[in-house]
């Protein structure tokens, strides 16, 4: 895949995300219209989408979206999959010739389950360890197969991305043919890292997907930290670390999502000094334990998993983020106009504070294998947090 080094003119990627808390499906056109409202925020060197709920017929299987330069690279991937997985279905990801999209790589998707061998089979099959198995498999392919990358690996979700403007990438992947209950979208303006198909957002692992506007200047620190836990960064772009940090902190270490967000964008020490116990100890512990997970530099991110959508800013808000709601629909974007383009009359519009996560989860038991990472009642901390569902008592009042 060709790697394009951008001119450093100006920066400002665009983000947009939508979730319906009742799991109602949203057509692809909706997210396309929203991200295209922010066309000026990109420069044609990358765009992408993540969609949740698009493969209900294979909802029990991990779906690997594979991007490959050559037939041989695809073959190499398939050989690994044949050994490591049960494959229930595979197909070309439908694309169409699109003006402006030049020499795209090949795209295929594989619906798989881990294939354990020997004793491990009895221990691991059907358990949460399947996730670890898949992470290891994705890392292995991305690291060892030349010219092929797994660009998404979750169940009932997928990432679609490449070099182009968001309308071109959407047209290329025929996204108007998909409907999802969560969508995120990205319009890229690469500044410090190359524009190439693998470097477009979203970045994913399992069903985590993330789109990002900004620069992670702590990339080196974060990357080395993640390597200790078996995550390998192969996509030449700073944002990749965030996807793996989310998986490590939230899924593997079991942090409630608010605390994981705090680790990524922690309060300043001077703010912690003014806190009361037990909050002071919680924040101190998070900063001490997860110092190497802190994201330095400007960012606004949207990340999603099969049960929710989260928006988060860096701790001094150097990139924009706006949120809105209407009924069961929640919207987050770089610009209010991107929300109004698809929801002209939201009930509420607000700008989250620096470091304040906006967490919107599906209502309980909405989809199969639904993940929830709120992990109980909201933490009693003064750092602002905006979450849906609210605490149980407040939800009843609503």
């Amino acid at each position: 895949m060709e790697i394009l080094i951008p001119n450093k003119e100006q920066a400002g990627c665009g983000l947009s995300g939508i979730i319906n808390r009742k799991g109602e499906l949203i057509k692809g056109e909706v997210i396309i219209e929203s991200i295209c409202c922010q066309m000026e925020r990109g420069n044609g060197l990358g765009a992408g989408y993540a969609a949740y709920g698009i493969y209900p017929e294979f909802a029990e299987y991990y779906c690997l979206h594979v991007m490959a330069d050559t037939k041989q690279a695809l073959k190499d991937v398939e050989e690994i999959l044949a050994h490591k997985c049960y494959l229930v279905h595979q197909e070309r990801i439908p694309t169409r010739a699109t003006p402006g999209i030049v020499s795209p790589p090949r795209f295929r998707r594989y619906f798989v389950k881990p294939r354990y061998e020997g004793e491990i089979r009895e221990i691991c099959e059907g358990t949460v360890d399947e996730d670890d198995y898949m992470v290891e498999l994705v890392m292995y392919i991305n690291k060892n197969v030349s010219g092929a990358y797994v660009i998404s690996s979750g169940r009932n979700m997928g990432a679609f991305k490449g070099v182009g403007f968001p309308d071109q990438i959407a047209n290329f992947f025929r996204l108007e043919e998909y409907s999802a209950y969560i969508w995120t979208a990205h319009n890229r303006f690469p500044t410090n890292t190359p524009g190439w198909w693998g470097g477009a957002h979203p970045f994913t692992i399992l069903d985590w997907s993330i789109v990002h506007n900004g620069e992670i200047s702590s990339y080196g620190t974060n990357r080395r930290y993640l390597e200790m836990f078996g995550y390998h960064c192969t996509l030449l772009t700073d944002t990749e670390v965030v996807a793996y940090l989310l998986d490590l902190l939230i899924r593997r270490h079991g942090l409630p999502i608010e605390l994981a967000c705090m680790a990524l964008a922690p309060p300043f020490w001077q703010e912690i000094d003014r806190m009361e116990e037990p909050e002071k100890s919680v924040c101190t512990a998070i900063r001490a334990v997860y110092g190497a997970a802190m994201l330095n530099g400007p960012f606004a991110i949207l990340f999603a998993y099969n049960g929710g959508l989260v928006g988060l800013n860096d701790r001094v808000k150097l990139r924009p983020l706006v949120a809105a709601k209407k009924g069961d629909f929640y919207y987050m974007a770089s610009e209010e106009a991107a929300i109004r383009a698809i929801c002209p009359d939201p009930e509420e519009v607000w700008c989250p504070k620096a470091g304040e996560p906006v967490i919107v989860e599906l209502e309980p038991h909405t989809i199969p294998n639904q993940r929830s990472y709120l992990r109980g009642e909201p933490l009693r901390i003064s750092a602002p947090i905006c979450r849906f569902p609210l605490a149980e008592a407040e939800e009843e009042e609503e």
């Binding site: 808000k317 610009e335 209010e336 109004r340 700008c351």
Partner: protein, 247 residues
């Protein structure tokens, strides 16, 4: 007679072309309908005209402009009034980050809240004194690197009851100008080398002047606005960082 432009599906270049054409033809009152995200509206326009905007204008509304009076019937996005030289922007809703960036004249009146780094690097010279009045609350870094001009923060008409009236690092690097805050604020929100003072008669006069105009524009009750104590925040010296690199 007002000149109306339907901005629906117009790119900002086309919209601005239409605006410039209308101004050149001598129209004094423009109404922009269905605006959504178009950048640089009225940027660089140098004329005494009124512009009513319906919808959400995009980034850098009124950048570099000299003279137009813009009224936004809703919210506006980041960078409104970027380096504006003269004129007025009245926002009936909220405004985003870096509003009034490097502003050097004119007025920005916001009915409700504003985002981060509002009034960053405002400056004044002789009779050119830029003014920002905020009816709601402000994010961090209000008046960062401020070199001149006036910011008035009311905190009265906010959608964020849980937030402090201003975020932290207020006036960081400020070395000129003045920030007035209704009902005051804790020193923890301030950047370094600033002082909070009581207002004097001169300040009172300045406040009454600007706030009378602000309340008239936004239909707020002037007496209610003035019914609380204001404090003023200024740099301790005009060169607070003069010795920072001197060792």
């Amino acid at each position: 007679m007002a000149f109306e432009i339907d901005a629906k599906d117009l790119h900002y270049r086309e919209l601005n072309k239409l605006i410039r054409k209308a101004v050149a033809e001598g129209h004094k009152h423009l109404i922009l309908k269905n605006v959504n995200g178009q950048r640089y509206i009225a940027a660089g326009v140098s004329a005494q005209i009124d512009i009513d905007i319906y919808g959400v204008p995009g980034l850098d509304l009124g950048a570099f402009m000299r003279g137009p009076r813009i009224r936004v019937h809703g919210n506006t996005q980041d960078g409104a009034g970027n380096t504006m030289d003269d004129g007025k922007i009245v926002v009936e809703g909220m405004a985003g980050d870096v509003v009034g960036y490097a502003m050097r004249g004119g007025k920005i009146f916001v009915a409700s809240d504003v985002g981060y780094r509002v009034g960053i690097h405002m400056k004044a010279y002789m009779d050119k004194v830029p003014v920002i009045v905020i009816g709601g609350k402000a994010g961090d870094f209000l008046g960062e690197y401020m070199a001149g001009g006036v910011i008035i923060l009311l905190g009265m008409y906010s959608r964020y009851p849980e937030r402090p009236i201003a975020g932290i690092f207020l006036g960081t690097g400020m070395h000129g100008g003045v920030i007035y805050v209704r009902e005051g604020l804790p020193e923890t929100q301030l950047g370094a080398a600033l002082q909070i003072e009581d207002i004097n008669e001169e300040d009172e006069k300045i406040l009454r002047g600007y706030l009378q105009e602000y309340c008239a524009d936004l239909n707020y009750d002037f007496n209610e606005v003035m019914a609380a104590k204001f404090v003023k925040i200024r740099p301790q010296t005009h060169r607070p960082y003069g010795k920072l690199y001197a060792y």
